[in-house]
Amino acid sequence: MPKHSYSGGLVAKGRVSIVVERCKACGFCVEFCPTKVLALSSAFNSKGYHPPHVVHPEKCSGCDLCGMYCPDFAIYGSRVTPVAGGKE
């Protein structure tokens, strides 16, 4: 039995949801996303903050670290497709 490896396997797909009006542009999500999926956008919410937006959607694993860090409950990650190619 070959030792399991991730080299060829599919990484779980995830998606980020953003509640724009709650965001206060603290930047935690952008900083602590392990795969740098996010960046602060140049758009404004009604309070004048720059909410984050997804710049590398393909890199999101849905780990929800952005959600854990967000002090405003304005972003969260969700696993969208099941993890494929895990242990044989």
Binding site: E21, F28, P71, D72, F73
Partner: protein
């Protein structure tokens, strides 16, 4: 895409969002960890109650969709004591700030720890009185500038883990708002403990503490936590004091077992009164 739901949302009073905490303040982050712990440890939400005092963290009670009580300044712990004693089946969490718990509420903090009342205390320590505009707290590190120490704090500050361990707490841990997974796990561990658990969470207060002391904003502070924190489980609490820019020792410092208040009460009453001791009837006054 609308079917995707924030796992934390179920615990929030969404109709009260957005909340009042400042950009980069860490209180909301601690609420995420609290929510995560509720999910992980499958706490029965029906019997969970959150009690907060006054201050920025005091507003947590108003934002969580649970039986929640926003009490008076410093008196969350005695209120929670009454709540727990009247209905021992309740899981009572005290969620408040460093000023509320260790300054005006300090007397109740040490007595509840001494009695080992079964309470889970989450103390969000932003090192200052934030709600009232950035005054010195018992936890404000030396030389910090505050609105009431404009020339620099000179009073020594409390080392909260050391204080509550000495007073008798059975579980003492400290994390920062950077340590989201560890904090969630710590809160879950506290839910499994019976007795007085105390979790200190160092949190940025960008608007008052960091700004007045030129320590950058919330994100800079989180990076400082990431860089300068050191996990030392079981570290002697006497060694975990804080300074303004120095090392931050985090981890689970104390995890011991000691009968909680009601167990001790029941034991003593049964010993003295035998079967004459009437176990507290279900509190029904209707």
């Amino acid at each position: 895409m609308s079917d995707l739901v924030n796992p934390v949302e179920q615990f929030l009073r969404s109709d009260r969002m957005p909340h009042i905490w400042c950009p980069g303040c860490g209180i909301g982050t601690t609420v995420n960890c609290f929510a995560q712990a509720l999910i992980e440890s499958k706490v029965d939400l029906e019997s969970l109650a959150v009690v907060s005092g006054i201050g920025c963290t005091g507003r947590v009670a108003g934002y969580v969709k649970l039986d929640s009580f926003h009490t008076t300044h410093g008196r969350a712990i005695p209120f929670a004591t009454g709540l727990k004693l009247a209905n021992p089946k309740l899981n009572v969490v005290v969620y408040s700030g460093d000023g509320d718990l260790s300054a005006i509420g300090g007397n109740h903090l040490i007595h509840a720890a001494r009695r080992n009342i079964d309470l889970k205390v989450i103390c969000v320590n932003n090192l200052i009185y934030a709600m009232t505009g950035g005054q010195t707290a018992p936890t404000t590190p030396d030389h910090a500038i505050t609105s009431t120490n404009p020339y620099g704090v000179f009073e020594p500050s409390f080392n909260l883990p050391h204080l509550v361990e000495a007073a008798g707490a059975v579980y003492v841990a400290r994390w920062t708002t950077f340590h989201v997974r560890q904090l969630a796990r710590s809160i879950s561990e506290a839910f499994k403990k019976k007795g007085f658990s105390f979790i200190e969470v160092i949190s940025p207060c960008p608007t008052l503490y960091q700004r007045r002391n030129k320590l950058g904003d919330g994100l800079d502070t989180m990076k400082y936590y990431k860089e300068k924190s050191k996990t030392r489980h079981g570290a002697p609490t006497s060694e975990v004091g804080l300074t303004m820019t120095g090392e931050i020792i985090v981890g689970k410092f104390v995890d011991r077992d000691r009968p909680d208040y009601q167990t001790m009460m029941r034991g003593q009453m049964t010993e003295s009164l035998g079967d004459k001791f009437a176990e507290q009837a279900e509190m029904v006054c209707s």
